[in-house]
């Protein structure tokens, strides 16, 4: 399969930079420790905030650190290559490949995510397990649900990043919008603070938006706060958002290729 080949090569490409990975794992772990103590202080005073207990809260912190790079919360991944290729005009080459542009870059991004979940996800979690009391998925269904949810999280995040990168067709430079979209993602995914302890109505709004897919939904499945049918409900919302956003990617791409003159000769 072509897409598998693309994903495998993307995996290998990211796995080349070992020192960078180790440095990143170290940084994730330091932030994990800081947030763990901050959350412990909060849950010490309100032991049931957002329906979580202290162990859930600390587990949430380390899940967040593990997913930060995997889901590319800040932006990055193959969509950055795309934006750069749009700016330089190389995207013209991508466009006459006999493969859809969205599928091509999605496959690459899934390969990247597979590497990041192994390297930047598992290693800091092990560190967190040693230092703190971290909960593992209570049931097999929760574990499997988490895995599916994580893939959907990457696809949703990819579609969002693809849309941001596509603005380079018009603006030429995506950096500004990329930063803005990263800010929104950090806040609305629950990376900064679990969405479950947001005050209403902010909580319900944030939970219904696509960014909840990045961290809150997978984390709730992992923690067992979504069990049984609720797992499927959560996954269904993720599928809907992923489909809507991927559809939007195709539309934007269509508009771009029709209207925009590619840079260069």
């Amino acid at each position: 399969m072509l897409y598998v080949a693309v994903a495998v090569r993307s995996f290998r490409r990211y796995s080349t930079y070992r020192t960078a990975t180790l440095a990143g794992v170290f940084t994730n772990s330091v932030f994990g420790v800081i947030y763990s103590y901050a959350y412990l202080a909060l849950w010490h005073q309100r032991p049931d905030a957002g329906g979580y207990d202290a162990t859930d809260a600390v587990t949430y912190v380390w899940l967040g650190q593990a997913l930060l790079m995997t889901v590319a919360l800040w932006g990055g991944g193959t969509t950055d290559d795309l934006a750069e290729r749009i700016r330089t005009g190389d995207v013209a080459i991508d466009l006459y490949r006999p493969v859809g542009l969205v599928g091509w870059y999605l496959a690459g991004d899934l390969g990247r995510a597979a590497y990041h979940v192994l390297a930047r996800g598992v290693l800091p979690t092990v560190f967190g397990l040693v230092l703190f009391d971290i909960a593992l998925p209570p049931t097999l269904a929760a574990g499997l649900g988490f895995a599916v949810s994580l893939v959907l999280a990457v696809v949703t995040s990819f579609a969002m990043r693809f849309l941001v990168a596509s603005t380079a067709f018009w603006l030429l430079d995506q950096t500004g919008l990329r930063t803005l979209s990263g800010v929104l993602a950090i806040f609305l995914s629950g990376m900064m603070l679990p969405l479950v302890i947001f005050p209403e109505p902010l909580r319900s709004i944030a939970l219904a938006l696509p960014w909840a897919s990045y961290l809150q939904t997978p984390a709730d499945i992992w923690l067992g706060h979504r069990a049984g049918g609720a797992i499927l409900d959560g996954l269904l919302v993720q599928v809907v958002w992923a489909a809507v956003l991927l559809g939007a990617c195709q539309l934007v791409l269509g508009a771009a290729t029709r209207k925009v003159v590619v840079q260069g000769g």
Partner: protein, 252 residues
């Protein structure tokens, strides 16, 4: 020149500036939302935390504005542009500072100033306190400046380890946004004597807020901040010198 080049894509520039203002603003909103659930965090109220947050934010903001580009030193090593810089009759560190000088970093500083403005309401102001606040802001900036330099020096040995430095610079910033009382005693000791980020704001803010040290450390630690700033700057300068001495060009 870098200031002008960043204005070349105006839409992107303004989004980036607004973005970096928003990123830090939402960051504080996150903290404020925590206080929606609880009245105090580690015994400190929102205004007091805003004071800590503002000082730390201005410190890292100024440090980043002046020397943040030093994070790119690994890139200069890898691409060989460091050789060209070394032959110019301007100190290397100044050239790297000026390289990719990014005006948008002002966004972060202005946000920290706004938060600090909210935090000063927690203090009973007297003349010495005002003077010490000025000392604190300068020391905080100097400490973060030194951190940026010192931890970037690792890149003279391994070029792709930029993220390692982030644990200390941005990590130090995040740590000092919270009152140290949320950490266990051993962590505080580490943050005082090993990686002295506690001197960025913690000890002087305790003095400003007329609070006794919850960990029982002496009150005169408050006036040590400038001393620590000079010390970290010295260590950073030594590390930089060793790094540059160690540097042998990529060749060719």
């Amino acid at each position: 020149m870098w200031v002008r080049s960043s204005l070349a894509y105006p839409v992107s520039f303004w989004m980036l500036t607004v973005g970096s203002f928003l990123v830090t603003l939402l960051d504080f909103v996150g903290l404020a939302l925590m206080f929606h659930t609880i009245p105090t965090l580690g015994g400190f109220g929102l205004r007091e935390v805003a004071l800590l947050y503002g000082v730390s934010g201005i410190g890292i903001g100024v440090g980043d504005l002046l020397i943040g580009s030093v994070e790119q030193v690994g890139l200069h090593v890898r691409t060989g542009t460091l050789d060209a810089m070394l032959t110019r009759p301007v100190p290397l560190i100044v050239q790297i500072c000026a390289d990719r000088f990014a005006l948008r970093r002002l966004g972060r500083i202005s946000q920290a100033v706004v938060v600090l403005g909210y935090g000063v309401g927690a203090v009973d102001w007297t003349a010495p306190k005002v003077a010490l606040t000025a000392v604190m802001l300068v020391s905080a900036s100097a400490i973060f400046f030194s951190f940026f330099v010192a931890f970037s020096c690792i890149q003279f040995w391994t070029v792709d380890s930029t993220e390692f430095a982030n644990a200390f610079t941005y990590g130090g910033n995040t740590m000092t946004q919270y009152p140290m009382t949320i950490f266990p005693r051993e962590v505080l000791k580490g943050l005082t004597f090993v990686v002295p980020v506690a001197f960025v704001n913690w000890y002087l803010c305790l003095y400003l807020l007329d609070r006794p040290d919850p960990f029982g450390l002496p009150a005169w630690f408050a006036v040590l901040s400038p001393v620590v700033a000079v010390l970290t700057a010295t260590v950073a300068a030594l590390a930089w010198r060793t790094g540059v001495r160690h540097y042998t060009s990529t060749g060719s």
